[in-house]
């Protein structure tokens, strides 16, 4: 049996929270001094993923004892919620950072694509950037020369190749960058959700390219939140949760696992208290939650009650807007991953948006959803000169709509007790009434006429 191309053994990675390196020399001196005074502060207290090391800083295990191996030619999807450790895993495998313990053996040339266009220099032309970017990704000069025309063709960029990239639109930029990456020729390719870029047609092209790379027998490690893409592209899935590997199975099983494990997913996430920063320099998501009309935060909602989805966010600085204003948005997904709807908060009356904390709540009416499980993504964006996303937490929340059959069996279901199909089950307006007996449709009268 051939040796696996990637072998990961007990990989763990610890981050120090509250000790984010931006300390000054004086603070470090203080720390040394304190350490001198009380040499043994005792063993660190441990509490699952977090442990306290006495000095006030928290240890956070982004990965804990993760082991798996990948055979040559496999296409493996890495899935898990935000913060499950996916990016950390990719960063370690692509040598951007080092593990705290454990190791990984890689038997092949590896290239990783954690972001397209890394290292593009705005002053240089497209041509010069293709060489620079290719070299950064580990290609030899001669390799790039050989593939240059194909790259330019793929990017549909022949006319602009000698223009400085600072004059490119963001779409052109991404196309060229992806084209360079697509023509990398590694044995192992690590990809982190770069396909969510460009227009739909270009995305299709990228997917096709990925597929053909996979068919050539190359090994791909792919991270995405798009479960449809995982099932169609990958043969196997690795499900991470809270830094641990909890499932290593065929792709569709892993995706199922992702959704069924959703029961454990919270009805509220307090990013601010977790010390996780979500957002850009304009807006920051502090918390999101799902509650019932009584104000109780819960993952279970009666089908006869409205569901309230809330976002608490902070506007960090003053900014002038002309016609388009920042808005909060929720996306509702069915348990199979399909998007049911998107809803944007209206911005009327909020035009000034002075810095400070805000709450946005959205009410999904009673008797609108089915008795199903749903996922919520929350986002905030501004649509001035292109869509500017401030934050976007995919599948941040999860809830279950329940139905008490004894209450609704005859009231709403006409006695039908089986599952009612459909992603939603809205209470629509029906008009059912007895009409005057129509002449034409009355068989007896028609018969009389004929007689």
């Amino acid at each position: 049996m051939p040796e696996p191309i990637i072998e990961v053994r007990n990989l763990s990675k610890r981050y120090r929270l509250g000790d984010f390196g931006r300390h000054t020399f004086r603070e470090q001196l203080d720390r040394w001094w304190n350490r001198l005074l009380k040499k043994n502060a005792g063993a660190p207290l441990s509490n699952g993923r977090f442990s306290f090391n006495g000095a006030g800083a928290k240890d956070f295990w982004a990965l804990r004892d993760v082991s798996f191996s990948i055979e040559r030619g496999e296409v493996v999807g890495v899935i898990g919620r935000n913060g499950a450790g996916k990016s950390t895993l990719l960063k370690i495998l692509s040598r951007i950072t080092e593990p705290t313990s454990g190791d990984a053996l890689i038997r092949g040339r590896i290239a990783s694509l954690l972001e397209v266009g890394t290292g593009f220099h705005p002053e240089l032309t497209g041509r010069e950037n293709v060489y620079l970017n290719g070299a950064i990704l580990g290609m030899k000069r001669r390799e790039i020369q050989g593939k240059f025309d194909e790259i330019v063709d793929f990017a549909e960029m022949a006319d602009f190749i000698d223009t400085p990239v600072k004059r490119y639109s963001s779409g052109m930029y991404v196309k060229l960058a992806f084209a360079v990456a697509a023509y990398l020729d590694p044995e192992i390719l690590i990809v982190d959700e770069v396909l969510s870029v460009g227009d739909a047609q270009f995305q299709k092209k990228c997917l096709g390219k990925m597929n053909s790379i996979a068919r050539e027998g190359r090994t791909i490690l792919f991270v995405s939140h798009n479960m449809g893409m995982i099932t169609s592209l990958c043969s196997r899935g690795i499900l991470l949760e809270s830094g641990r590997l909890i499932l290593n199975a065929p792709a569709n099983e892993a995706v199922m696992g992702y959704y069924t494990r959703g029961h454990l997913s919270p009805a509220s996430v307090d990013f601010a208290r977790m010390g996780v920063r979500v957002g850009d320099d304009y807006a920051q998501l502090l918390e999101c939650y799902i509650k019932n009309p009584d104000g109780e935060v819960t993952p279970n909602h009666d089908i006869n009650n409205a569901v309230i989805i809330g976002l608490r966010y902070r506007i960090l600085r003053q900014k002038r807007f002309d016609r388009a204003f920042p808005y909060a948005q929720i996306n509702l997904h069915a348990s199979g991953g399909a998007l049911i709807f998107q809803s944007m908060a209206p911005t009327g009356g909020m035009e000034d948006c002075p810095p400070g904390d805000y709450v946005a709540e959205c009410e999904i009416p009673r008797n609108f959803l089915n008795n199903e499980m749903y996922y919520i993504s929350v986002a905030m964006a501004t649509c001035d000169s292109g869509v500017n996303v401030h934050f976007h937490e995919i599948n941040a929340l999860c809830f279950q709509v329940t139905e008490r059959l004894e209450a609704s069996l005859y009231a709403r279901r006409n006695g039908f007790s089986g599952p009612i199909a459909g992603a939603i089950r809205p209470d629509l307006k029906w008009r059912v009434e007895k009409t005057e007996t129509s002449r034409l449709n009355n068989p007896r009268e028609s018969a009389g006429l004929l007689a």
Binding site: Y15, F20, G21, R22, H23, T24, F25, R26, Q28, R72, G73, K91, I92, L93, S94, R95, I96, T97, E98, P99, T100, S101, G102, D103, A104, L105, I106, R107, G108, R109, I110, S112, L114, E115, T118, G119, H121, E123, L124, E128, Y131, L132, A135, I136, L137, G138, M139, K140, R141, P164, D185, E187, E216, G217, R218
Partner: protein, 286 residues
């Protein structure tokens, strides 16, 4: 299958060694090094009006300022050598040193976005900077030669200075400056990433360092009992040597050079150690 299974193996593991420089990776990424050198060169002057003419103008303007202030106003005695030549020679090594320092000391903090997304040897950008700055050195040598010809053959001061045969060792002097500046730059870059305080210090450090190096004054001006301090400065001998090989002035002795080269080497090796220790995980903290 397109590519045959290669012999390429990579073992990722926590690394606590102090001198673990991945030379093989540096060699594998040599093409990136060349492309980065080119990028540094092209990007620096692409949008300037005078373009590459700045390579000549920059040291000339500095020389002019020095001639006016230190020669004309402060009247620092430098002997009978023409001021412009004296300062040009003094600045040759010093400019290279300070340019390299500026480029390498910010390499980790300045490239954090890049280093956080893709792996390539972290030593490649500083090496590229040092190589592309060499071009400035070549242009400056040409400028010195032009001034040299003018002052030597067209002025009366010509008979008081002259080029020495030791000029064949000039590349070694430049090499010492390169090694030293890389060492100091790596030290600083590792320190700034760990303690932000050091980013404020670096400009001050460069100024202080320049005045403690015989750039604008001759080494001979230093009182004898303080000379040993200046000799511990690993930039003193390179700067003094440049003046010696071009003009035949200055105090240059083999044991001084050996001491200076030794110190430069020590700084380089320790800088490399500190840098590679910080480089492996610094991305977790920025």
């Amino acid at each position: 299958m397109n590519s045959a299974p290669s012999e390429y193996r990579l073992h990722i593991r926590p690394n606590s060694g102090w001198l673990h420089v991945d030379l093989r990776a540096l060699w594998e990424y040599r093409d990136l090094l060349f492309i980065m050198v080119r990028r540094d060169f092209v990007a620096k002057y692409k949008q300037t009006l005078l373009g590459p003419a700045w390579f000549i103008l920059q040291p000339l303007l500095t020389t002019l300022v020095f001639t006016l202030i230190f020669g004309g106003v402060a009247r620092i005695p430098i002997g009978i050598t023409p001021h412009a030549l004296f300062y040009l020679c003094g600045l040759l090594g010093w400019n290279y040193f300070s340019q390299n320092f500026a480029a390498t000391s910010s390499v980790l903090a300045g490239n954090a976005h890049l280093f956080g997304k893709v792996y390539f040897p972290r030593l490649t950008p500083p090496l590229a900077a040092i190589i592309s700055n060499l071009f400035t050195v070549v242009v400056q040598i040409a400028t010195i030669l032009a001034f040299y010809v003018f002052y030597k053959y067209f002025t009366v001061a010509g008979k008081y200075f002259g080029m020495q045969w030791q000029i064949v060792f000039l590349p070694l002097v430049i090499l010492q400056v390169a090694v030293l500046s890389l060492g100091v730059g790596l030290w600083m870059s590792a320190l700034t990433v760990t303690y932000r305080d050091f980013s404020h210090l670096s400009a001050f450090l460069m100024q202080l360092w320049m005045y403690s190096t015989p750039v604008i004054y001759p080494f001979a001006q230093i009182p004898v009992r303080w000379r040993w301090v200046s000799l511990l400065n690993p930039m003193t001998m390179p700067v003094e040597s440049v003046k010696y090989v071009f003009l035949g002035i200055g105090v240059v002795e083999a044991r001084y050079i050996a001491l200076s080269a030794g110190i430069a080497l020590a700084i380089f090796v320790s800088g490399l150690m500190v840098f590679q220790h910080v480089e492996r995980t610094f991305i977790d903290t920025v």
